[in-house]
Structure formats: C-alpha cells, structure tokens
C-alpha cells in the first residue's frame, strides 16, 4: 500500500491502492481445466459475467473496448492453459497495477463459468 504521504506522481503512475479484501481463494485452487468453448464464449460476451469484450478485441465480438490487448493467437503467447487461467483468476499477480478485474479471486465468475471462459480464450 502507498503511504499516506505518497506523491501524487507516484500514485498517478501506480494509479491505485488496494482496499478490497481477498476473496475466498487468493491463490487459484487446483481445478480441472476442461471447460466448454461455446459456454465460455457466452461468458466473455455477457455484460453481467465476464464482459471481456468491454476491454478486449475478440474475434467475432461486437463493439469491443480497447483497454486490454486483442485476445488472438493465445497459444503462441502463453505456454499453457494453466497460465491463461492464472491471468484470468488474478491478473494483479503478474501486474499489480492492471485494471483487469480478478475474476476468480473476487468471485466475479462461478468456477464453472471460469473454467469455460479459460477454455474459450485458450481456443482463440
């Protein structure tokens, strides 16, 4: 956490403090990564669920946002499905300042929706 007397410059660079207490699992629990691609696609496009499209260009998705990188050629960028899963579970592990929400850690997605969206993203 930033000290109360941090400079604003530092805060602007870092852009945030963290107040939200960790959810049920700070660490990603062991799980079978064997979801359903089509169901995962629905999670990624649904405003009330993943809403990944709000920030990412995804092939076949309408009116994407531009905050995150395009989700294409995933298997050339990640060594394993599990690494993709870790990114989606809690992206702040790799980059504490990232704005992408911690979908697993904060319980934004159910485990089934999570496993499905991982499968879908891995397929892109």
């Amino acid at each position: 956490m930033l000290s109360r007397h941090s400079t604003l410059k530092g805060a602007l660079a870092a852009a945030s403090l963290t107040l939200f207490s960790a959810g049920a699992y700070a660490e990603m629990p062991a799980m079978q990564l064997d979801g359903d691609v089509e169901a995962g696609k629905a999670v990624a496009m649904d405003r009330a669920k993943g809403n990944c499209i709000a920030c990412h260009v995804i092939p076949g998705g309408d009116s994407p946002g531009a905050i995150g990188p395009a989700l294409v050629a995933i298997q050339t960028r990640f060594p394993s499905k599990e690494e993709v899963a870790r990114q989606i579970w809690d992206p702040t592990v790799k980059n504490p300042e990232v704005v992408m929400p911690p979908f697993g850690k904060h319980g934004i997605l159910s485990n089934q929706d999570f496993v499905n969206v991982v499968e879908y993203i891995w397929s892109l």
Binding site: L8, S16, F20, K94, N95, V99, P101
Partner: protein, 279 residues
Amino acid sequence: MNKTTALLTAACIGGLLTTPLIASTPAEDQADWQAYFQQRFPQVPKDDFVNGVYSIDPVGRENWEAIEEFPPYEAAISDGESMWNTPFANGKTYADCFPEGPGVAGQYPHWDKEQGLVMTLPLAINQCREANDEKPLKYKKGPIADLLAYMTYESRGQVIDVVIPEDDPRALEAYEQGKQFYFARRGQLNFSCASCHAGNSGTTLRTEILSPAFGHTTHFPVYRSKWGEMGTLHRRFSGCNKQVRAKDFEAQGEEYRNLEYFMTYMNNGLALNGPGARK
C-alpha cells in the same frame, strides 16, 4: 503491450511502491495532476478539459454541440430561479443566506473552520433551509438540482480557486482523505476512480470513451440523457461507485465531500461552465 514491456512496467511501478516516497504538498499534487493530463492529451487546450469526454471525442462533440443549441437544462435553470425568488414560510429567502446573490458557486467547496468540514454548495443550501425551518432537499436530483442549475449558471466563468488553509490541519486531512478515495481500488471489479479516469482516460470501455478526470467538477449539475433528467455531482459519484459493484456512499456525506474537495482543488484555474449536458 507485449509481455516484456508489461513486466518491465510492473517492475518500475513496483519500485515506486516500495521506495519510501517524499511527502507531497497539495500544490505539488496539483502541478503533477495537471501536467499528467496535459501530457496525456497534448492536443487538448487546457481550458477545454471542462468539456469532459467531448474534449477528446470529436464525433461525440458534434452531437453535443447540437444539443447545446437547445440546452436540456434550461427548464431546470428557470425552475431554480423561481425557487431562489420564492420566500420561505417565514418570509425570508435564499438571498438572506447568500447575500452576494446566486452566483457564488466559485466559492465552493471550501473548508469551514467553524464546523470543521468541507462545505459544499448543496450542503450550504440545506443548512440555509434548515435555519429557516424548511425541510432539507434530497441531494441527488429534483429541486436541489434545479436550484444548483440556476446558481451555477449565474456563476459561469468564475475561476476555480479552492484553498487548503494551512492554519487548520483538519483541512489537509480532508484533502488527503479525498485523494486516498480517488486512488483506492474498490468493489468486486477492483477499480479505482483513477483506473478509469486517469490511467485509462481516453481509451474505450466497450463503446464508452473514458473522460479525463481533469475538468470533472466544472459543469455540475448535468442533464444526462441516460437519466432523462438533472443530477448532481454526488449522484454521478454514486453511479461510478456502483458500476464497479462497490458500495456507494451517502450524497453529501463526509467521503464524497472530501472527494469533491480533492477533485475540485485539482481543477484550480479552470472556469466554471455548468450546468452541463452529457449522454
């Protein structure tokens, strides 16, 4: 961003977080803040930040300028003017509380040493009503937005000059709390105000362009098409808290008044241009 640069940035920011930082004064914060947005949007003249997202979105701006030809907040201004002129049951009027007249929005928010709190214009309006045995108004919309629309309209062009008085440490404390609030991540979605309006200002969240925070307080209350009516600054705060699935705070409660104090201080030097219209 490719992986290497992402990791590098993370490392640099990590450094900033762990290095003990030197205390910064509000004046230094303000200079950093204004420089940050002017560097991020070099094409925007400083005075134009008061126009919010339309300062950076030429297409949206055309629509908005057409809307401003027949401003949707005009009825609110005239209803507010009637409120200003209508005596309370005891025969007094708002002018008894605001002897300089309705055009005083530029004097708010300010540190009220006697009460030990950040005084905003809506709070001053309700204190005036209560002193005259009238019921306080609700803070997010309705009559208070009308009266604010009129008073703000009469204050157009006043230059923001919020002061953090040095003779009362509680004023600096209120400022620091507002600043903390701005940068604190909250809600299930884990966003801070700065996540959207500093670090990602100018990018798009789905189809919505995120406006720069610099200029955010200059034009309230606003007529918002999505609301189909007028709303106050604290109504907007509450909406932005809720959209990241965080608990919102009470309008005109201490948290939002301190937040307004910080945000308005960051805007010092910009001119008031409310009421406004937004989509």
